[in-house]
């Protein structure tokens, strides 16, 4: 890891602050333990959860390894349904396309349902800069937007806030009376959002799944806001990363429950929608135009890497974040990435600059809890090892570290040199020198009492 990148310095500073913040730890531990209990219950609804994971992984493997074919099939079917497809190679392409659509249709107000892909391309800023009022309608995202903060977690945007924090935000930003009654807060948001839905010209959503054989977009949510976002405004734009493809509509029978179980512990989310195109003749509602933006933005670089392309299996359930002891201690903002936690550490160096984000792959104890949690069996901690190896290959490592490992290798190639180095280390501990050598490990810990004999020496006498 190169400590010289500004991103690495920022990460370390933020991580140190959050790791020492016991209030933060308490809030996150409480939120995630509630989640853990729900997910554990949820998994028991499956006849065989491990089999479901294996099956989901196999379908994703097939899709990602033939993504060209599935994407073209999806496009053909969207067009056949009367929709439009735009292939966005970069975030800028995607933003410009949305802005062009908005201009062409005289859009003044946009309602959005929760979408990490739109976070990734910083769509809200682009719309607001162009003078288009943009309103997040997912309650968590609505709160984030009021606070001017990005989502803290890919599924649970305000996991780090207590009810009191949210009440304070409503009080400050909306001028509503201070109440930490969750139902009252929800009703305040609901009343305000209803007006926005009615007045919006364009609805923007993400896509939990893009279905190749029907050209449909599947959305998963709990508040009904996504349903209003895509059905009330004149124009619906769905923005999907190209990895969101699944081959067949019947695959949802597996993926919907797998996603909701891993995401929140629910058997299914409260609302599951399939969008098959714009309003058809004789239909009473639905948008006049339906646009899908298929976003690359670095994904094809990951796709080209046969060793790591299974990271594109991700269905953005957030389970790896909740399982990660690093995430639980440093929280979502420390990563400074769109996608936090283990999956973010795996994919960000591929999607963005490999050097700038290489530190994330080192910010893991490689405990493997993420891999165990992943419902599509992405070998997450193994990919962190690949990223580390790639960083060293590309010489992002610090020269001093490289030297240390070369010296270490020289010592370890000879049992005599190893024994001498070991003896010196034990001697150094006994004399207290090692406290500075082993810093910062020793800043808050005692080194072990060094034994008089190594096992090797003991064996010489007792073997």
């Amino acid at each position: 890891m190169s400590a010289t990148t500004a991103t690495a310095t920022q990460f370390k500073r933020a991580a140190a602050a959050k790791a020492a913040d016991l209030h933060h730890r308490g809030v996150i531990q409480k939120a995630i333990s509630t989640y853990d209990a729900a997910v554990a219950r949820g998994k028991t609804r499956f006849a065989d959860w491990e089999n479901a994971r294996a099956h989901a992984a196999a379908i994703k493997w097939e899709t990602i390894n033939h993504l060209d074919r599935y994407l073209e099939q999806f496009e053909r079917n969207v067009l056949a349904n009367g929709g439009h497809v735009f292939w966005a190679e970069t975030a800028e392409d995607a933003r410009q396309h949305v802005l062009a659509l908005a201009r062409r249709h005289g859009v003044q107000k946009v309602v959005k349902s929760k979408s990490m892909t739109t976070e990734e391309i910083h769509l809200n800023d682009a719309l607001e800069t162009a003078g288009i009022k943009t309103i997040e309608t997912d309650l968590g995202e609505y709160i984030c937007q009021m606070r001017g903060e990005p989502p803290y977690h890919i599924v649970t945007p305000v996991m780090h806030l207590t009810k009191a924090d949210i009440a304070q935000t409503f009080y400050e930003k909306l001028g509503t009376p201070l109440t930490d009654n969750a139902e009252e807060l929800t009703m305040i948001a609901r009343a305000r959002l209803r007006h926005e839905f009615m007045a919006a010209d364009m609805g923007i959503t993400g896509a939990n799944f893009a279905i190749a054989d029907t050209g449909m977009v599947a959305l998963t949510e709990n508040e009904g806001n996504a349903r209003l976002s895509f059905s009330l405004p004149r124009i619906h734009v769905a923005i999907a990363g190209i990895e969101k493809l699944i081959p067949r509509v019947e695959d949802l029978a597996l993926f919907w429950p797998v996603l909701s179980t891993s995401g929140t512990g629910q058997a299914l989310t409260a609302y599951s929608s399939l969008i098959g195109g714009p309003r058809q003749p004789g239909e009473a509602d639905g948008p006049q135009e339906f646009h899908v933006i298929l976003l690359d933005n670095g994904r094809t670089r990951l796709l080209a890497d046969a060793e790591q392309r299974d990271a594109l299996h991700c269905i953005r359930c957030g389970a790896c974040l909740n399982a990660c002891p690093i995430y639980k201690n440093v929280g979502g903002y420390t990563y400074a990435t769109t996608y936090q936690g283990p999956i973010g550490s795996v994919i960000t160096p591929h999607l963005r600059d490999a050097h700038d984000w290489s530190h994330l792959s080192y910010a893991s104890s490689l405990c493997g809890a993420c891999t165990e949690a992943c419902p599509v069996r992405i070998d997450l901690h193994h990919h962190l090892l690949h990223n580390r190896r790639n960083s060293v290959r590309r010489r992002f490592d610090q020269p001093i570290q490289r030297l240390v490992f070369q010296a270490w290798l020289w010592a370890m190639q000879s049992p005599t040199r190893f024994a001498v180095a070991g003896k010196f280390a034990r001697f150094a501990i006994r004399l207290g020198w090692a406290n500075s050598l082993a810093k910062p490990w020793t800043d808050g810990r005692e080194l072990p009492e060094p034994p008089d004999q190594s096992f090797h020496e003991w064996w010489g006498e007792h073997g």
């Binding site: 005692e446 072990p448 190594s454």
Partner: protein, 242 residues
Amino acid sequence: MRVALFIPCFVDQLFPNAAIAMVTVLRRLNVDVDYPTEQTCCGQPAFNTGYWDEARTLAKRHCEIFADADAIVSPSGSCTAMVRNFYPELLGGGGARTELGRSVPACVNKTYEFAEFLVKKLGVTDVGAKFPARVTYHDACHALRELRLKDEPRQLLRNVQGLELVEMDQAETCCGFGGTFSVKFPMISYAMDDVKVTSIKKTGAQYVVSGDSSCLMQIDGYLRRQNLPIKTISLAEVLASQ
């Protein structure tokens, strides 16, 4: 059966009692043990830091040293996992872990973690030990998730005379060591240590037991700095006690 001892470098130098205890237990079970004295390190520190070329040099060396062993036993889930789960990829020159298995060196699939060897290979769950104390077991991540060892150490502990096993709520949560991780990201590592120790304290245990001495070093270092009376001890030492 003749068994070769694979003693990780830091166990050799800092925690020889864990290795000695393993020898004691194996000999008690009439297992013939041998210690190939050329061994040093399996290469894991370099591998985990991204220095795969350096790690590969040591992996090849390790496999040559253990080439003729019938079975290889190690008092570490982490180093066992390095050999068994990561050597195939490291020595096979790439490819996903799942695609390998061909042409791996002989030592790879003959390497066992100590508790695993006792329970799965020897079929022994009662080694005739006595350790009258209240203990809690820390699942080392690699033993738990790379080698899938959850019940084996507990089966062994349940048969220790006088021992009371109390589970902590965060048994499967990482202690925060992670090798160079604990030095590169010290504040995160301390927070993880603190979560672990808080969970240990709640059990009222006198001892924290684990199969991996590196985790115990991390936990013990923090316990001692906090002046807490809880001790750490390797599973092998508990099983050697009589």
